[in-house]
């Protein structure tokens, strides 16, 4: 197994009196997708915010390539090669696709004595990057982001992260608001990033999506790591139960199961309650 | 002759009487093939630059004559000199004085003087036995209002009394209740005050109420400039006097003198032409009211 790019050791995080994370230990490796699972409020986004320099841990050690690091702000994390697509936001409706893509890392060129924003390069790069992820409808980098669909915006954010994320790509619920096609697009993008040798951290509430791309799974329950296992070590039912905070999801799952089993064989319509 | 007149803010009662004087003088100018253009300040918020701007506007319009109040000499003088250098005949009106007019090369000064008007108010108070006067300034920091209050103080001191200024914060400007209550509170706190003067006619409306509220009946009220309500108070005895600089005359005379000088080469030996300060009190209230009827006072 390769050495971890990024590792968390005994990380704790409190917001004032509220303890959110408790003794987190995690490792992320190149060419591997780590799925971070857990209930609403379990602390997944908080872990991400520590890794991307938005917050600082209250205690514990973060290390890159074995050397301890500390990020004063998101910029420093980005400079260390950590690219993050946060759960909400990340795009700017009234900005052009090109400018939005390069926000905070604008490409410049020299024009005489002045270093100016290279609009053409930015637009071309942005359009190419987005199209390489299959969103071919975006062909004008001057178009405003506000005019894109939700799936297109998500793709833009991810394309941006992949473009700049030299080593670690972090995606916080990238598929939540997406349709089946867009979601599968995102999953393909994750597989593509993994194939390119990036380490990926992927957060989702959908077992199917997690299982489709994950190599390694960590489940958070109320701020602590409740389970940490590799692909194939646990069944879908076990993972689902863990994602639900360790409770038995039996009833509903059973209903879904029974339907699915039946569904293949085209059962007769269920009886209705009137 | 084409004449430009620079004047005070649109919503100022005083400058509306100036406008009446201009309007009444205009037919004579027009009859001789000329025109009169009245350039008014929008407000007093950015005073000196705006005034200079209006002078330059007049220069750019290539007028023959300019009637201009010299409110902020440091700022206006260069522009007025430029106007005269451009061949424009200038009369100073309302503010500036004879010495200034001579210095700049203007052909005359028509008007009163804020400081002199204030002095007249102070003297009036002192000669009516008042010992301690409050000058209510709702626009502290502005040149003309500061000069008025300073004049009152000097007039009182010369007459053996004392005066002080009450500056109100901008949050009280235009709220008669806040003005009235500030005056009332001051009167209650310092019972030696026996006279109040306001820097504008509108503030006197509030001051009258404030004095009445304080319950101190020995306080007499004066005001700079006057409005209908103030004149009614003078008639009714709840206000003692108003200082009038007869704005109608200022503009009427200034425009007429200037047009005549340009068109016919006349010149008036009277230098300066003083239109004030005049005091309106119980003695001459009836005649004043007749002028008010016609919109000239």
């Amino acid at each position: 197994m390769p050495q971890a790019i990024l590792s968390l050791k005994n990380i704790n995080k409190s917001f004032g009196p509220i303890d959110v994370l408790h003794d987190i230990n995690l490792e992320v490796r190149a060419g591997e997708v780590l799925c971070l699972l857990g209930d609403n409020g379990a602390g997944k986004s908080t872990v991400i915010r520590l890794l991307s320099g938005v917050h600082k841990p209250t205690s514990g050690v973060m290390a890159m390539d074995g050397k301890p690091v500390s990020f004063a702000n998101p910029r420093e994390a980005a400079d260390h090669g950590i690219a993050t697509v946060h759960q909400f936001g990340g795009t700017f409706p009234l900005m052009s696709v090109g400018r939005s893509f390069f926000v905070g890392r604008e490409p410049t060129k020299w024009v005489g004595p002045f270093k100016v924003y290279d609009r053409k390069l930015a637009n071309d790069t942005a359009v190419k990057a987005v199209q390489s992820f299959g969103i071919t409808r975006i062909d004008d980098g001057d178009r405003l982001v506000g005019g894109l669909s939700g799936g297109e915006r998500q793709a833009l954010a991810i394309a941006r992260a992949v473009h700049f994320g030299a080593r670690v790509l972090i995606l916080d619920e990238p598929t939540a608001a997406l349709g089946v096609k867009q979601a599968s697009h995102v999953l393909r993008i994750v597989n593509e990033a993994k194939r390119r040798g990036l380490a990926v951290i992927f957060i989702t509430h959908q077992v199917m999506h997690a299982m489709a791309v994950g190599d390694h799974f960590a489940v958070l329950i109320r701020g602590a790591i409740a389970a940490d296992f590799r692909k194939g070590e646990k069944s879908r039912e076990e993972i689902t139960d863990l994602m639900a905070g360790g409770e038995q999801m039996a009833e509903l799952e059973a209903e879904i199961e029974s339907y699915m089993a039946a569904g293949e064989g085209h059962p007769e319509p269920a009886k209705h309650v009137h | 002759a084409t004449i430009a007149v620079v004047g005070g803010s649109n919503d100022d009662a005083f400058w509306n009487l100036i406008k009446k004087g201009i309007d009444d003088a205009t037919p004579a100018v027009v009859a001789n093939g000329g025109s009169v253009n009245y350039l008014r300040l929008q407000n007093y918020d950015n005073f000196a630059p705006d005034v200079v701007q209006l002078i330059r506007t007049a220069i750019s319009q290539k007028v023959d004559g300019l009637v201009i109040p010299n409110w902020v000499p440091e700022a206006e003088d260069p522009a007025i000199k430029d106007a005269i250098a451009a061949g424009i005949k200038v009369i100073l009106m309302n503010a500036g004085g004879a010495d200034k007019a001579r210095e700049l090369g203007a052909i005359n000064y028509v008007g009163s003087d804020e400081y002199v008007a204030g002095q007249a108010g102070g003297t009036y108070f002192a000669s009516h036995g008042k010992k301690h006067v409050l000058c209510v300034n709702t626009l502290p920091g502005a040149n003309n209002t500061e000069a008025r209050c300073k004049g009152v103080t000097d007039g009182m001191v010369a007459g053996g009394g004392a005066a002080e200024q009450l500056p109100l914060p901008s949050t009280s400007f235009g709220d008669p209740t806040a003005v009235a209550e500030a005056i009332k509170a001051t009167l209650l706190k310092d019972t030696t005050i026996d006279g109040v003067i306001t820097i504008s006619a509108g503030d006197a409306d509030a001051a009258a109420t404030g004095i009445q509220q304080s319950g101190i009946t020995t306080v007499s009220l004066g005001s700079f400039d006057m409005n209908a309500a103030g004149l009614a108070r003078i008639k009714g005895g709840t206000q003692t006097f108003a200082i009038d600089q007869q704005p109608y005359l200022q503009s009427y005379l200034a425009v007429s003198l200037l047009a005549s000088a340009i068109d016919f080469g006349t010149s008036l030996p009277t230098y300066p032409v003083l239109t004030g300060p005049g005091i309106v009190d119980a003695a001459n209230i009836e005649a004043t009211l007749a002028g008010v009827e016609k919109g000239a006072r």
């Binding site: - | 235009g174 001051t186 509220q213 309500a229 919109g295």
Partner: protein, 336 residues
């Protein structure tokens, strides 16, 4: 279930910060100004100022709770005053004509503001900045056109004077104080006890969701703009009757004074949070600070500085209380 009368719950109410601010200001001026300003004559002093401001501040505050701003009130005060003075003073028509006309113009400008805000996506700060200038221009232009003057006298006798522009209680207190108290009580009922108040908070929280929840957001928006500009016209009208005269200029100080009172009273500028009682306290606080300095020995020249610092301190205090309100949950959240 938590009792709603616990001290903790009290501290989380929108008016908590405003109330503590009021106490602080009273203590401050009590120490530096003696207690004159708490005796009847002194109280009348800031009550009169607070009443004129308060009648305008409450509807302005409601607009802020609903996520809008109205700065055209600064032109509506002289508009109301001038309308009654021109109609009943200059033309000598019965005073009730003038009163009706002043209030009607208030309604009209409110309708214009409201319609422009709901029909276009233009922020209300900009829309009402436009009407502020436009109404100022109309007042000046029409007044001069009609009366050849910018100051119009008005003398009122009888019932109208007693109801709108007189003093009572030993000739010290303006009837406006009674109006203010009555109107505040009516607003408290309207906002905190009737169902409509809930609608205003919902609109400030999320206008689209409020509309989806079945609230007639457009009608409410127009109603609130009509309330604020009519209230401003009402105050102007009463001032003209009280002071027997109306000026074209003035009234602009009501813009910032009302905003300050509302914000000091704990209303969130971005909408969805606040209370009438808070605005009431905020108005009194502002009036005391504005008038209290005359009872002290401070140099009057520093009054703006004191007002500015008060505003910043009050807002910071409210901010703290609001955070407490939001983070409140009956149990401690977190691990273990």
């Amino acid at each position: 279930m938590q009792s709603s009368f616990s001290p903790g719950a009290m501290l989380r109410r929108p008016e908590a910060g405003a109330f503590l601010g009021l106490l602080a200001v009273m203590i401050f001026f009590g120490i530096f100004g003696g207690l004159t300003f708490l005796q009847p004559a002194g109280m009348a002093s800031w009550m009169n100022v607070a009443s004129n401001l308060g009648v305008i501040a409450i509807p302005v505050g409601l607009l802020m709770i609903a996520g809008e701003l109205d700065i055209s009130v600064g032109a509506m005060v002289p508009f109301g005053a001038m309308t009654v003075a021109v109609i009943s003073g200059h033309y000598g028509l019965p005073i009730w004509f003038g009163i009706a006309a002043a209030l009607s113009f208030g309604v009209l400008i409110g309708l214009i503001n409201g319609y422009m805000v709901i029909r276009t996506a233009v922020p209300s700060l900009i829309v009402t900045l436009g009407t502020l200038f436009a109404v100022q221009g109309v007042v000046l232009g029409l007044t001069v056109l009609i009366t050849k003057s910018t100051s119009v006298a008005l003398s009122t006798e009888g019932a109208a004077k007693t109801i709108f522009g007189d003093f009572f209680f030993g000739g010290q207190v303006q009837v406006m104080v009674l109006w203010w108290l009555a109107i505040t009580a009516a607003y408290i009922f309207f906002v905190h006890f009737s169902r409509f108040g809930n609608w205003i908070f919902a609109m400030g929280g999320d206008k689209v969701s409020a509309r989806n929840a079945g609230i007639p957001t457009e009608r409410m928006t127009i109603l609130l703009f009509v309330l604020s500009s009519t209230s401003a016209a009402f105050v102007g009208m009463c001032q003209a009757i009280l002071y027997n005269s109306a000026q074209v200029a003035g009234g602009q100080s009501f813009i910032f004074n009302a905003i300050i009172s509302v914000v000091v009273g704990g209303v969130l500028l971005t909408g969805g949070f606040g209370s009438i009682v808070g605005i009431f306290f905020g108005t009194i606080t502002f009036a005391i600070v504005n008038q209290g300095i005359y009872y002290t020995d401070f140099d009057r020249n520093w009054s703006s500085l004191i007002i500015g610092i008060l505003l910043l301190v009050a807002v910071l205090m409210n901010n703290t209380f609001r955070k407490m309100a939001l983070s409140y949950s009956p149990r401690k959240m977190g691990v273990k």
